[in-house]
Amino acid sequence: MEIINLLADGFLIVFQPLYLAIIIGGVTLGLFIGAMPGLGSVNGVAILLPMTFLMEEQAPGSAIIFLAAIYYGAMYGGAISSIMLGIPGASTAVATTFDGRPLALKGLADQALVAAATASFIGGTISVLLFTGFAPPLAKVALSFGAPEEFALMMLAFATFIGLGGDDISKTFFSIFIGLVLSAVGLDIISGQPRLIFFDIPGFFHGVNFLVLAIGIYGIGEMLWTIESSRGDVQLSKATVSVRRIIDNIVRMKETTKAMVMGSFLGYFVGILPAAGATPGSLMAYGVAKTMSKDPDSFGKGNLIGVAAPEAANNAASTGSMLPMLTLGIPGSPTTAILLGGMVIWGLEPGPRLFIEEKEFVWGLIASLYAANLFALLVNIAFIPALIWVLRTPFTILAPSIFVLCVIGGYAPTQDMHDVWLMLLFGVVAYLLRKLDYPMAPAVLAIVLGPLAEASLRQSLIINHGSPMIFFERPISGPLIGIAILLFFMPLFKALKSRLTSSRAAQERS
């Protein structure tokens, strides 16, 4: 069992006090960075990268461990503002907003926070185990994914959002199309030309940032909605917290085991694919959890599974995206892209030979992921009472604070006021659409997956001289796209079935 020996060596490195301190410091810092809207793990890692130079000189290998701990902490932290304020703390935590926020409004914020932390821990642990045991073969899987496979996977993601009962199908489509149009703004990657630059405003050159839409919808739109629905009631959340409740909440997580395990595997797999990253992974896990559920209507209204599945997935994906970075030298997410840059600076050459030549580094990193997971869980749970206390702030104070955080969140990624105005506009539009009962989650899904789906579709068609048969002929993309098509038609089957049963019922009555 060579792997176990190597892992044990890794743990010996990690359990030195200095390294432990670095991990705890990293996850705590990451937790806060992740919880700040607009500041995600990408920003955290990018900002702190130059600092790690000094660190690396003192303790070799500590720099990447520190940054990976931040990455992990941010994955946990992103859920915090999604649940408490309804503003996704990071792009990876958008799906957590869908059910986390309704739970908080019902006074069950502590339950949602515990669910997020526990699911993150499960997702992180399962994925690190997968990483430990199967890194090289999984790297091969990642390589076998070309443009047609990627497109099939994207279609599957869209299908999980459409093929769900409950929501009005035509309204879901409308919402998806809004997201797709917004995702098309900016640069056409195939022709290299700018497109949809409305009124020649330069701000549109960088496209519509996904967080701008998400914060508009879930921050501003939600706030307007709450102002209207609360009718002057200043104490919104009656949440209480005690050690007893936290333990009960952890025990309750048993109900979501299936969703957490599903989310972990799905998230990990999506994470290892280059270009995908944790955001699509968590959105897909949410969609699949809803499809699998016996009670899909309760999703979006405060279902614990709706928090557990995407949180397990985004942590699993963050580990997953390190795999192509380390073994292929290709980042699976923007954050790992920066980590990759860091490795080069520290004199480590990522690629297939890293596992052979830099054993100490690789296994130290893997061991640190186990430790980071555990500490992130403990630190996160320790903070829950303080977070609940913040939530009890009267809405008259909370609302302006949320507004300020939204503006910061809109501005931070691109540092362009244009995005702040756009975010406010989206907020107002989202509020109006919500009054008309349009689901907004599909628009968010579409703006994330739209560019990936478009690029892979067009690349596949160019390769195959314009014939879409390429999607059906290949061994991986064929089955994927078949399942996607079935899911797309599910609402139609359901409608037919319900019409049949109702007409039969009518016949029986007559």
Partner: protein, 330 residues
């Protein structure tokens, strides 16, 4: 705490060493100018790409050796093949003109030509420093059994329009090189654009593409693992790292192509500020970290600045104009 102090001391020490090295060269009159606020360090490409990695290395070197009294704050502006970044620099005003520098590449020439509506004239930008020139090679998968450009040409001819050349965006470096190969050897390869050179390299390693024209840094990992193989280099001389790959010049095709890695200042930057940044980046260029990186990544090129850098841009711009016209992009 102990760690921080000790490193701070070593940081100061190395700054001192560099400082004395610098004082040997004659100081110009404008030495007194210093940035008054954090410097906007615009990157004309997305996060994680080649330009981005280099920009972050430069930032780290500046920070590590205390080369600037105010921090450099990187911002990625990849939109519109760099159009967004060019407009941002052109639109700076007041004190910002002296506090905005940009890491740029060959889209610095091509984007203003392909999007004349931007009204960007690159000769107005402040020439701070050319940090390196990145090189290109022709790559194939090892399993293809192709060992030379001759093999490559016959295989690509046989497959005709089904031969897939993966590259970065349309009208960019990779397509110019593909077009050169098509014309020089009478090929009809199909060019498929992907986002970023790392992704392109992966397409080849996963056998989704038949060939690529990656930079060494993008293929190095796969090359060392024995997955991909370089056939020939678009450089004047053979690259040390890939000694077995001939240059196209040796093969009788007079074609050399580089990607510039340069730092430019906003148009209208004051002379004192320009001189300050030139000094900063000359020190970055001379640092061990940068020299080491250049060696590892097979980068070419000495440090160019001032009028010589401007002349270099104008020469390169003419070459690119000709190439873009030939492929019908402008």
């Amino acid at each position: 705490m102990k760690i921080i102090t000790r490193s701070a001391v070593s940081g100061v020490a190395s700054a001192l060493v560099l400082g004395t090295a610098l004082s040997l060269t004659p100081k110009d009159a404008s030495a007194a100018w210093e940035p008054k606020k954090p410097v906007d360090f615009v990157i004309m490409a997305g996060k994680g790409g080649g330009a981005d990695k280099m920009a972050r290395l430069m930032q780290s070197v500046i920070e590590k050796h205390n080369l600037s009294s105010k921090p450099f704050v990187p911002i990625n502006k990849p939109g519109g093949s760099g159009a967004e970044a060019l407009i941002h620099l052109k639109g700076t005003s007041g004190a910002n003109k002296d506090h905005t520098v940009m890491v740029t590449l060959n889209s610095f020439y091509t984007t203003p030509m392909r999007q004349p509506g931007l009204g960007v004239d690159i000769s107005t930008f402040a020439p701070i420093g050319r940090m390196a020139e990145d090189t290109f090679l022709l790559w194939v998968h090892k399993d293809s059994g192709i060992n030379s450009v001759t093999d490559f040409v016959s295989a690509a001819k046989a497959k005709g329009n089904n031969w897939i050349m993966a590259g970065t965006g349309k009208g960019q470096e990779d397509q110019l090189l593909t077009d050169f190969l098509n014309r020089a050897y009478g090929l009809n390869m199909k060019y498929v654009p992907f986002k970023g050179g790392g992704r392109v390299a992966k397409e080849l390693a996963g056998k989704h593409a038949d060939s690529t024209v990656n930079n060494p840094s993008e293929q190095l990992g796969f090359y060392e693992a024995g997955t991909t193989r370089p056939l020939a280099a678009f450089t004047p001389n053979r690259l040390e790292l890939f000694g077995d790959a001939p240059t196209f010049k040796e093969l009788g095709e007079d074609f050399v192509y580089f990607m510039q890695r340069s730092v430019v200042g906003a148009p209208g930057m004051s002379g004192e500020a320009e001189a300050y940044y030139r000094r900063v980046f000359a020190q970055v260029y001379a640092s061990d970290e940068w020299q080491d990186y250049m060696k590892k990544k097979s980068l070419y090129g000495g440090f160019l600045t001032g009028q010589r850098l401007k002349d270099y841009w104008l020469r390169e711009r003419d070459i690119h104009q000709k190439m873009l016209k030939e492929i019908g992009e402008i």
